[in-house]
């Protein structure tokens, strides 16, 4: 396999996701899903692989919605994609002309610039379409809408059209899911929808637009899958290694099994030396973090100021203390920090740790001790802020 950091992967190149995809299909039998993860964890790759492996009875559509800035353009995009995909589908060849006619598209090539029936609202257009789609399939069959970057689209709509438009979109989509059981949706995106909803709350939004979409977290690859991916990439790029297994292992563990970083690491190791060994992996990571910071790990440091307000200093200090350690118990950590901040309130410290956990800086190990959640962030912290 060839490295492709950041690029579009072919479905067969998306490895170690079979269990997750099986879980998603299983959940989608019953309801929609909110797929969450840090950026570059592979959410889009998972959606694309699902799109390529649709089980019988499922017809899926994929949208990247970050260009959407109004409800109308959202609905237009939905129309365009559904029309285009159905038009290209053997299965729907017989019925597509009638559907297009129903939607005011007259069987012509989709113009894609405006909603087909000027007298109807975008909500009516959307409802009309899902109604027609639902009528085409049996009870157990599903239409699957994969909405990538939906939170961005909602936020763009809020900014351009006002909060009420954004709220309406969220509510309309939820209503469709309620009223048309054959329609399933997956929401995902590079920013958390809860941040967008929190903004809407400030404008008086009271609904719970995703309480029917249980979250599914996209985790890093399992240890074996990450090791295997690193190995396949090293071999695919013909990177000679002193010990293929050990080098693969060191890459996989240094980046916590994140496929994006594994691709990056192997791409960087290529050509670095005639034969790569584990210390060279370490040197590469050190250089990547220090020299270029291409992975913008500094972001985790910079955002502390805006995320933690008056507790920013405490959060930074706490992470500084944790950075050189593999893990710290609450007591040890408290001792180290409190000695440096006189009059520090223990509860304030505890609640800062809770926030850090929520924001994916830290997590707890099996013994309950705290550790950095991502080794790369810890590496950045230790390397750039240590001493």
């Amino acid at each position: 396999m060839r490295t492709n950091p950041g690029g579009g992967l072919a479905p067969e190149e998306v490895v170690g996701r079979d269990a997750l995809i099986a879980e998603l299909w299983d959940k989608l039998e019953r309801h929609g899903v909110m797929m969450t993860a840090e950026r570059r964890m592979g959410k889009t790759s998972v959606l694309r692989k699902m799109l390529a492996q649709q089980p019988p009875g499922v017809t899926a559509f994929y949208w990247d919605l970050e260009n959407i800035r109004s409800p109308e353009t959202l609905v237009r995009e939905i129309f365009n994609k559904v029309s285009e995909d159905l038009g290209n589908s053997q299965k729907w060849q017989g019925k597509v002309q009638q559907l297009l006619k129903n939607w005011g598209l007259g069987g012509e090539k989709i113009a894609g610039v405006s909603l087909p029936k000027p007298d109807l609202t975008w909500q009516q257009h959307l409802q009309g379409m899902v109604q027609d789609l639902s009528a085409q399939v049996a009870d157990r069959e599903r239409w699957l809408f994969l909405f990538d970057e939906l939170p961005l689209a909602i936020d763009n709509i809020r900014q351009d059209q006002g909060a009420s438009s954004a709220m309406e979109v969220l509510d309309t989509l939820r209503m469709i899911r309620q009223d048309y059981p054959q329609i399933r949706m997956v929401y995902t995106g590079s920013i958390g929808l809860h941040h967008v909803v929190a903004e809407l709350r400030k404008q008086g939004y009271r609904n719970a637009p995703t309480n029917d979409l249980p979250p599914v977290e996209v985790e890093p690859l399992a240890e074996y899958d990450a090791w295997k991916l690193a190995q396949d990439l090293l071999m695919g790029e013909k990177v000679a290694t002193a010990d293929l297994s050990a080098v693969s292992q060191s890459i996989a563990s240094a980046v916590d099994g994140n496929a994006f970083y594994i691709h990056h690491c192997v791409a960087r190791l290529k050509g670095m030396a005639q034969s790569i060994d584990v210390p060279q992996v370490e040197a590469m990571l050190k250089a990547a973090v220090r020299q270029y910071d291409v992975w913008d790990l500094g972001y985790f440091e910079k955002r502390i100021g805006s995320y933690y307000g008056e507790n920013a200093k405490l959060a930074l200090l706490a992470l500084d203390e944790l950075a050189p350690e593999s893990a710290l118990t609450f007591g040890d950590w408290w001792n180290r920090v409190s000695i440096q901040i006189p009059d520090l309130d223990k509860e304030a410290f505890r609640s800062t740790l809770n926030l850090l956990e929520q924001d994916h800086y830290i997590c707890r190990n099996d013994a309950g001790a705290y550790r950095f959640r991502f080794s790369l962030v810890q590496r950045y912290w230790h390397q750039q802020r240590g001493n």
């Binding site: 950041g6 570059r40 237009r76 989709i110």
Partner: protein
């Protein structure tokens, strides 16, 4: 000579071949990028590459090269055009400010090649006028999808940072949405540096691209690029010079100031010739002059405030603190800091941190130098370049002992195969051959006639004859050839010997011989002779059969029998000559040919083979006469011309040899031997480049013959193109791994590239094949010596000496290694051996003097320097080293007199030697410990005042400058007090402080001595120097800590035997 085809600023104007030729460092990267684009075109995977490199780093070169490679792929695989379409948004795509605009540019780029895209572009223009922006953007997306169709679009996007800036975040979101949603594009983009839109986690394109940082050229890569450009421009002498240690040192000097920016070297290549590079300063100043408009244009891109800051940094030359910049530019510190941040982002400045303070300086030394020259400060730049020119050979001297000597056995001669059979065979063989030729050449009439002859000689059955006749008459010649072969063979083998008549047995024997059935033929001839032992032709053909079976003695006896029956049988004498020749009995062979010629004076084959025997005996003049006779009878006898060339070559008459080979080539242009041997003679004349071309022709004819590859390697060595030579030897070795000379000469090339470990491995391979080659052992010793492995070197020399005890060079080199180990007594004994073998070997005598000096036996030392000078009065190094001994002995007047002579000799030389600085450094190394002795300074100061005058008169102050820097580690050593160090600096300041050429070294000395006193302040002190000066200081002080440059290594370096190649 300028390379007109090289475009330093617009590489896209260069031809694909030129781009390929001058590509260095990035061959693998180019291949990878190409492969990933093709993968994107043919699979669902889509790759997005972002090439990152400052201006001039070769981004456009690489992009253009890949573009052309893809066009070549289109030609090679036409179906690829159904899978891939290319839109190249070039550097000049200014002002893209929206998604709509971007799509329009893409369609425009596509429209250059595609009619459909032209129509879509027209439609887009119409829509853009009529629709709202939102609707037009949506339409643009649709039209772009339509233009791409089922293919993958390769977007080549130069200056992506500018494009993204124009697009804004909304445009970027639309672009990314398109890329993600459609998965139909692959991207090859460039940017001078990473920028927020792709780097920040909060931006749409975070982590989207595979960032590929283009590395700066290292010194070897810069040399490779300059070499390739020189070759492209036909400057072979320059290409060769670049491969020499001195040529490499010159490029290293340029690299010191210019860094690894490929554009600089492309530009520099326009101003250099062999001599210009050697002189360096003028070429460098010309390059600065040419770069100035470029840097001035870059200045114009800046705001007034930014320009002011840059100018300040040019004036100061060293890093400056923000508050100082703010004060000098009359702006507040906050504004200065923010402008500096922006300048840093744009790649103009870089920052050094010292504690809490940030110090800024210009990122590119070259930019500062250009702007300095414009401010009438060119003299300083010239002095600095001159300094670097001397500095690099000096700083590399410790590791670059030029002990190498070449081998003399480069030449291999190709001897041609000799004819074994006279073509005047009796009976039907002529008919059969004629028929075979007629069929091959499709001559119907001849074929019909000869077929009839064969039939009548009963060589064909009626049935075969009729069948063959029909095939010939219907022009089915190849079928006829096949049938003839089968029928003759069948017939031959099917007939029982007993059934054959006497004459048929003889005929069948002849035919079997022709068909390769030699043993069977021999049996038949024996059978014939059993019936009639007076049949002389049968004895001859029996002899031929025995010859073919390599039973030459018996063959000769058989011919003798024929001759005893018929003494005037020409064929017997002739074939006897051949067998005798193969027995190595050349004299007898010649007599036999003479007898054949006596019977038949116009037998060109006999004259030719007689020539070969004479050649084998080393009687080249006579051989040439014999070939001349052959040629006079048969002027188109190419073999005779070739062998005539070999004899001429062996007489050292290379020009005439080449003419002879040329005649052979005129007759037959595909004669491998002629081209190869021609190359050998050209090599002998030192016309190495022509030799390489000649070998190239030979290789085209026979790519799998190792000799031409080997010889080509030797000529490339002669040209100093060691890398290519190694590749040529590798080819030869891959064909014939058992030729030790390949391994030897490969080792020599590796040695000349400074790759001593590999050289040793290569010599080891040669030795494993031929352990008795003393030169391999000597060369191995030299490489080991250069690695500082003196003990092993001595063992290797010992082996060489055990094979060839009178090898004075091995004895001399052994002495040098022993000297380095401090084994002075043995070193002297070794030199004595060298001198006893060659009493005129002044190098060994000089080396002996040097060893005695180190041994503390100064009078002996002077004695041997004097002896060396007696042999060669102009040995400036012996004069100089004698002066050093005299100085150490306190004979200052004598020392000054010796050095006066040293520099007189140097000034009379047409080429200024490169080791003057090294000699001065050796003296300073002796001077410093004496300078530190109590009460010595007044006397030494007086002495140095006189010496300074000599240096000034000899115009060697630049060399003195570098020597002063090179000896800084000694001044910084703990045994030298701070007081002495201060005095040392004061001394030179008083003596030569007003000389501009000493200004920089004295400043560096000042900083180094301050550092000696306050080591913790190194960073602060260094920040008072310009970047290029800091590098010099770092280099100088690192010399003190590298393993090969400890004080004993510096002291312990005798003069070496130079290459005799």
């Amino acid at each position: 000579m300028a390379n007109q085809m090289i475009s330093a600023f617009t590489p896209s104007l260069m031809s694909p071949q030129e781009l390929e030729t001058i590509l260095v460092q990035r061959q693998d990267l180019a291949q990878e990028l190409l492969e990933k684009i093709l993968l994107s075109a043919t699979t669902p995977a889509k790759h997005y590459a972002l090439l990152i490199g400052m201006r001039g780093m070769g981004k456009t070169h690489l992009v253009a090269l890949i573009y052309y490679r893809l066009l070549a792929e289109f030609t090679k695989t036409p179906t690829l055009q159904d899978q891939l379409v290319i839109a190249w948004l070039r550097e000049e795509e200014w002002g893209v400010d929206s998604w709509l605009d971007l799509v329009s540019r893409i369609l425009r780029a596509l429209a250059v090649e595609e009619t459909q895209s032209k129509l879509l572009l027209e439609e887009l223009r119409r829509i853009s006028i009529e629709d709202s922006i939102d609707r037009a953007a949506a339409n643009a997306t649709r039209l772009l999808k339509e233009a791409i169709g089922d293919r993958t679009l390769l977007l080549i996007m130069e200056n992506l940072d500018d494009l993204f800036k124009g697009l804004g975040e909304a445009g970027q979101q639309q672009f990314r949405s398109f890329l993600q949603g459609e998965q139909c594009c692959t991207i090859l983009a460039t940017t001078p540096s990473l920028f927020t839109a792709v780097q920040s986690r909060t931006k749409p394109f975070f982590g989207f691209f595979n960032p590929i940082h283009l590395d700066r050229l290292t010194v070897p890569e810069a040399i490779e690029m300059l070499g390739k450009i020189a070759t492209l421009g036909g400057q072979e002498d320059l290409a060769s010079f670049l491969q020499t240690p001195l040529g490499r040192a010159r490029v290293r000097a340029v690299h010191h100031l210019a860094g690894g920016n490929p554009r600089v070297y492309m530009l520099f290549s326009q101003f250099i010739t062999r001599d210009a590079l050697d002189n360096l300063v003028e070429a460098f100043m010309k390059m600065l002059d040419d770069l100035t408009p470029y840097y001035q244009a870059r200045m114009k891109e800046l705001s007034n405030q930014q320009r002011k800051i840059v100018e300040l940094l040019v004036d100061r030359r060293h890093p400056v603190m923000v508050k100082e910049i703010a004060a000098d530019c009359f702006i507040d510190a906050g504004t200065a800091a923010s402008q500096l941040r922006e300048l840093r982002k744009l790649g103009y400045v870089e920052a050094e941190q010292n504690g809490r303070e940030s110090f800024y300086e210009l990122r590119e030394v070259l930019m500062r130098l250009c702007l300095e020259v414009k401010k009438q400060r060119g003299q300083w730049v010239e002095i600095f370049v001159e300094f670097l020119k001397i500095w690099y050979p000096l700083s590399e001297r410790k590791n670059q002992l030029e002990l190498m000597r070449g081998r003399s056995q480069y030449i291999k001669d190709e001897h041609l195969e000799r004819a074994l059979l006279s073509d005047e065979d009796p009976c039907f063989i002529g008919s059969q051959r004629d028929l075979q030729r007629a069929l091959k050449e499709q001559q119907q009439l001849l074929a019909t006639e000869t077929l009839e002859e064969l039939f009548h000689s009963k060589r064909l059955t009626e049935e075969n004859y009729q069948e063959l006749l029909e095939l010939v008459q219907t022009d089915r010649y190849s079928e006829a050839q096949k049938l003839l072969s089968e029928s003759l063979s069948q017939k031959d083998r099917s007939v029982e010997k007993s059934e054959l008549t006497f004459s048929l047995q003889f005929l069948k024997g002849l035919n079997l011989l022709e068909l390769g059935g030699i043993s069977e033929a021999l049996e038949l001839f024996d059978a014939v002779l059993a019936e009639d032992e007076r049949y002389s032709d049968a004895w001859i053909m029996r002899g031929v059969s025995l010859h073919d079976l390599r039973r030459y003695e018996e063959a000769t006896a058989s011919y003798d029998r024929a001759i005893s029956i018929k003494p005037d049988k020409h064929e017997a004498w002739y074939n006897r000559g051949i067998s005798l020749c193969d027995l190595g009995r050349y004299e007898e062979a010649i007599s036999s040919y003479d007898r054949a010629i006596l019977i038949k004076p116009d037998d060109h084959e006999a004259w030719y083979n007689r020539g070969n025997s004479l050649n084998d005996l080393g009687r080249y003049e006579e051989a040439i006469s014999s070939y001349d006779r052959a040629i006079s009878i048969k002027p188109d006898k190419d073999e005779a011309w070739i062998m005539r060339g070999v004899s001429l070559h062996n007489l050292g008459r290379y020009d005439e040899a080449i003419s002879s080979y040329d005649r052979a080539i005129l007759i037959k242009s595909n004669k491998y031997e002629a081209w190869n041997n021609r190359g050998v003679s050209l090599h002998g004349l030192g016309r190495y480049d022509e030799a390489v071309t000649s070998y190239g022709r030979a290789i085209l004819i026979k790519p799998d013959d190792h000799e031409a590859w080997y010889n080509r390697g030797n000529s490339l060595c002669g040209l100093g193109k060691y890398e290519e030579a190694i590749a040529s030897y590798d080819r030869s070795i891959s064909i014939n791994p058992e030729d030790y000379q390949d391994w030897t000469n490969r080792g020599i090339s590796l040695h000349n590239l400074g790759r001593y470990e590999e050289a040793i491995a290569s010599y080891d391979r040669s030795i494993s094949i031929n352990p008795e080659d003393y030169q391999d052992w000597t060369n191995r010793g030299i490489s080991l010596h250069n690695l500082g492995r003196y003990g092993e070197a001595i063992t290797s020399y010992d082996r060489a000496i055990s094979i060839k005890p009178d090898d004075d060079e091995a004895w001399n080199n052994r002495g040098i290694s022993l000297d380095n180990l401090g084994r002075y007594e043995e070193a002297v004994a070794s030199y004595d051996q060298a001198i006893s073998i060659n009493p005129k070997n002044h190098q060994s005598i000089h080396n002996k003097g040097f060893t005695y000096f180190k041994w503390g036996q100064y009078l002996e030392s002077i004695n041997f320097y004097n002896q060396a000078i007696l042999i060669e009065s102009d040995l400036y190094d012996s004069w100089h080293d004698k002066g050093v001994v005299q100085f150490v002995m306190g004979n200052y007047e004598d020392a000054l007199s010796s050095w006066q002579r040293t520099f007189q000799i140097i000034q009379q030389l047409t080429t200024r030697p490169n080791d003057i600085a090294g000699h001065i450094q050796e003296f300073l190394e002796e001077l410093i410990p004496r300078f530190s002795l109590p009460n010595s300074q007044p006397q030494i100061s007086t002495f140095l005042t006189q010496l300074a005058t000599i240096y000034q008169q000899a115009q060697v102050l630049p060399e003195l400058s570098t020597a002063l820097i090179a000896t800084l580690p000694q001044i910084l050593a703990p045994n030298i007090s701070d007081y002495t160090a201060d005095e040392w600096l004061a001394l030179w300041q008083n003596l030569l402080g007003t000389k501009p050429v000493l200004e920089m070294p004295l400043r560096l000395m000042n900083v180094a001595i301050a550092y000696k006193k306050q080591p913790t302040q190194q960073k602060r002190l260094w920040l008072g120097l310009a970047k290029e000066e800091r590098e010099i200081l770092n280099g100088a002080l690192e010399l003190a800590v590298t393993p090969n440059s400890d004080s004993s290594a510096i002291d312990g370096e005798p003069q070496s035997t130079q290459s005799s190649q």
